[in-house]
C-alpha cells in the first residue's frame, strides 16, 4: 500500500465516477455543525529537501555517548543489524493485516514461529500473535481470568510495574472489576501472608511479576499453590524477558503476560513494543487477540491460517473476548528474528552477563559511604539501593557527566523515597560501571 498525493484532476475524476459534483456535495449528508471549515493546523506543505532537513534536525537532537543505568520496565540490550535488515523488507514492513491467509503465508508463518518461541520461553502451551505491550498483556490476562472464573476480584502484587497496575485500574474503573494490592515484604518479595489473608472464593486472579519491579526474583510455587487452593488463576507478569535465559520458565502460571521489548526492540521513546500472552490449551477460547495456526491445504501441503477468529471483534462485535483486534506484527517479527539469531545458548549467555554485571555493579556501589542495599533477595539485572539523599538530585548531577542515572522509586512508591532502582545489562562495560560508581561517590560527597 502506497500513500500518494491526489491531484485536483484526479479528485475530479473520482468525484465524477461517484456522481458527485464537489467534495462539499459528497459530504453533504454530514450535518454542517460537524464539518471542519478551517484548514488543519499542520505545518507545510514542505518540499522533499525541507522534509529531509526537518528529520536531520530532529536526529541531531538525539543524545550520544551516554551510559544508562535506567531500566524500570524498558531495557537496553544488544541488537543485531540482521533484525533491522529483515523487518525492513517490504513484504513485512508494508503489509498490514493478515486476514487473507492464502496471500499472507509469510506473515502468518512468522507469527506462528513467534508464538512457538513464546511457548518455549514461558513453559506454556499456547501463545497469541502479540498484544500492544506488557501492560496491556497483563490487563488482558486478568480479563481472561475474569471470564474463566466468573469472579470479579483481582489481587495484584504492589511489586508489579506501577504503570502496568495503572493500565489495569483504567480498564477496571468502569467494568466493576475490583483490584486490590498485595504489599511487599522487607526483602521486596510478595507478602505471602497478606496474600493468603486476601484470598477468598471471589478472587479471579492473583498477579505477580518476576523479576518484580524491584528486580527481585519471586518464588512462585507457594504463591501459586495458595492461589489455586482458592480456585483463582495465577498470572505471572514478566517485564524483562531476558531473565528467562536463566530463571525457570513461569510454568506455574495459568496465564503469562510478558513484555517482549528486551527481544530486539530498541527502548525508543517507550515504544512500539510487543506484549505476549501465553496460557494453557484448555483456556485458548478465552484468549484475546489473534492466533496463527498451522494446518494443511487441500493438497496436503503445510500452510498457516488465522484461527479461532470467531472470538474476535471484527466478527463477534461487542461480545468478542477482547477489544484488541490487531497485533504488533512487525515488533513480534523483530523478536522472532532476534531470538532465532541468539538461540538458546545465546540467550543464556546474554542473561548470565546481565546477572554478573549487575552483581559487580552492586558490589561497587556498596563501597560508597551511605549507599546500602534495600532488599536482601536474589535479583536479575536490577537492584534497589538506599541513597543518603534525593535520587532525582543525584540523577541531575550524573546527567552532567553523561550518565543516565537510576530510576527514582519515590515517585510511584512514596514509601520508597531516596531508593534508587539500578539497571545493568550486557551492554554496560566494566569501565562504565566503575565510572558510574566514581561519579556517584563524588555526587554524594558534594555539600547539599
Amino acid at each position: 500500500m502506497r500513500y500518494l498525493p491526489k491531484s485536483p484532476a484526479e479528485r475530479q475524476e473520482m468525484l465524477a465516477a461517484i456522481g458527485a459534483k464537489s467534495i462539499d456535495e459528497l459530504f453533504s449528508s454530514i450535518p454542517d455543525r460537524y464539518r471542519l471549515r478551517e484548514a488543519l493546523k499542520i505545518p507545510g506543505p514542505y518540499s522533499e529537501a525541507e522534509v529531509i532537513q526537518y528529520f536531520k534536525d530532529r536526529a541531531a537532537e538525539n543524545s550520544n555517548g551516554y551510559t544508562s543505568f535506567l531500566g524500570a520496565g524498558v531495557y537496553n540490550h544488544l541488537r543485531s543489524v540482521v533484525t533491522d535488515a529483515i523487518i525492513q523488507r517490504g513484504e513485512f514492513l508494508t503489509s498490514y493485516t493478515p486476514y487473507q491467509a492464502e496471500i499472507t503465508q509469510g506473515t502468518l508463518q512468522a507469527i506462528f514461529e513467534f508464538q512457538t518461541l513464546m511457548c518455549q520461553l514461558t513453559g506454556q502451551e499456547v501463545a497469541n500473535a502479540s498484544m500492544y505491550d506488557g501492560s496491556t498483556a497483563m490487563t488482558e490476562a486478568v480479563l481472561m481470568a475474569e471470564r474463566l472464573t466468573g469472579r470479579r476480584r483481582v489481587l495484584v502484587a504492589r511489586s508489579v510495574h506501577p504503570e502496568y497496575r495503572e493500565v489495569l485500574k483504567t480498564y477496571a474503573k468502569n467494568s466493576g472489576l475490583r483490584v486490590e494490592e498485595i504489599p511487599f515484604t522487607a526483602i521486596g518479595t510478595v507478602d505471602a501472608k497478606a496474600l493468603q489473608a486476601a484470598l477468598r472464593d471471589d478472587v479471579a486472579a492473583v498477579v505477580v511479576q518476576s523479576p518484580n519491579f524491584f528486580g527481585v526474583i519471586e518464588s512462585h510455587t507457594p504463591l501459586a499453590e495458595a492461589t489455586h487452593a482458592s480456585g483463582a488463576l495465577y498470572v505471572i507478569a514478566v517485564a524483562e524477558g531476558v531473565s528467562l535465559g536463566l530463571v525457570r520458565p513461569p510454568a506455574e502460571a495459568d496465564i503469562v503476560a510478558m513484555e517482549g521489548q528486551s527481544f530486539g526492540l530498541p527502548p525508543s521513546y517507550g515504544g512500539p513494543f510487543a506484549g505476549v500472552i501465553a496460557s494453557r490449551d484448555k483456556f485458548v477460547r478465552q484468549m484475546p487477540g489473534r492466533l496463527a495456526g498451522q494446518t494443511t491445504d487441500t493438497e496436503g501441503r503445510r500452510g498457516f491460517v488465522l484461527t479461532l477468529a470467531t472470538r474476535e471483534q471484527h466478527i463477534r462485535r461487542e461480545k468478542a473476548t477482547s477489544n484488541i483486534c490487531t497485533n504488533q506484527a512487525l515488533c513480534a517479527l523483530a523478536a522472532t528474528v532476534h531470538l532465532t539469531l541468539l538461540g538458546k545458548e545465546g540467550l543464556r549467555e546474554m542473561a548470565q552477563q546481565n546477572l554478573s554485571k549487575a552483581q559487580f555493579a552492586l558490589s561497587e556501589l556498596l563501597k560508597i559511604p551511605g549507599v546500602r542495599r534495600t532488599f536482601d533477595a536474589p535479583f536479575f539485572n536490577e537492584f534497589v539501593v538506599d541513597f543518603p539523599r534525593s535520587v532525582k538530585l543525584i540523577d541531575a548531577q550524573l546527567l552532567r557527566e553523561k550518565i543516565i542515572g537510576p530510576f527514582a522509586l519515590g515517585t510511584p512508591y512514596p514509601e520508597l523515597t531516596k531508593r534508587a532502582l539500578v539497571c545493568v545489562t550486557e551492554t554496560t562495560t566494566r569501565a562504565e560501571i566503575e565510572r558510574f560508581a566514581d561519579a556517584l561517590k563524588r555526587a554524594l560527597e558534594q555539600p547539599i
Binding site: R285, T310, R311, I315, R316, K319
Partner: protein, 133 residues
C-alpha cells in the same frame, strides 16, 4: 429434517420440550444449518439460573460464535457434557442427542409466546424467502 410436533420453537431458533416442570432445550436444524460445522459449545453449569429471552451459552462454528437464548426461565439441572468432545453432533442430530441443557422451570412455563412446529416451519420458510428476495 422434521420438526418434532411436541416441541415449541423460538424466533432465535431454539427448541424446547416441556414435560411437567422439566424442560429440555436445544437449537433447531435450521440453526445448525445456518451456522455450519459446529466446533465448540459453551454451556452453563448445573445450578445456574436462566432467564427467558436472555443468553445462556454460545455455539461456535467455523463461521461465527452465536448466543443461545433461553425460551423459558428456570434452573439448569444438567448440561450435555457429551458435546464438549463431540460438538459436531449438533449438526447431525440437533433435535435429539445434541440437546444442550435440561432445566427445572421456575414457575408455570409461559409457552404462549413460542411457536408450534407448523408455525416455526412457516416462519423459517418466510425467512428463506426474505433471504432470496
Amino acid at each position: 429434517m422434521a420438526y418434532p410436533k411436541q416441541y415449541r420453537y423460538t424466533k432465535e431458533h431454539e427448541w424446547i420440550d416441556v414435560k411437567g416442570n422439566l424442560a429440555t432445550i436445544g437449537i433447531t436444524d435450521y440453526a445448525q444449518h445456518e451456522l455450519g460445522d459446529v466446533v465448540f459449545v459453551e454451556l452453563p453449569k448445573p445450578g445456574t439460573k436462566i432467564e427467558a429471552g436472555k443468553s445462556f451459552g454460545t455455539v461456535e462454528s467455523v463461521k461465527a460464535v452465536s448466543e443461545i437464548y433461553a425460551p423459558v426461565g428456570g434452573e439448569v439441572i444438567e448440561a450435555n457434557t457429551e458435546l464438549q468432545n463431540t460438538p459436531e453432533k449438533i449438526n447431525t442430530d440437533p433435535h435429539g442427542a445434541a440437546w444442550l441443557i435440561k432445566v427445572r422451570l421456575t414457575d408455570a412455563a409461559n409457552l404462549s409466546g413460542l411457536m408450534d412446529a407448523a408455525a416455526y416451519e412457516a416462519y423459517i420458510a418466510s425467512k428463506g424467502k426474505e433471504a432470496s428476495a
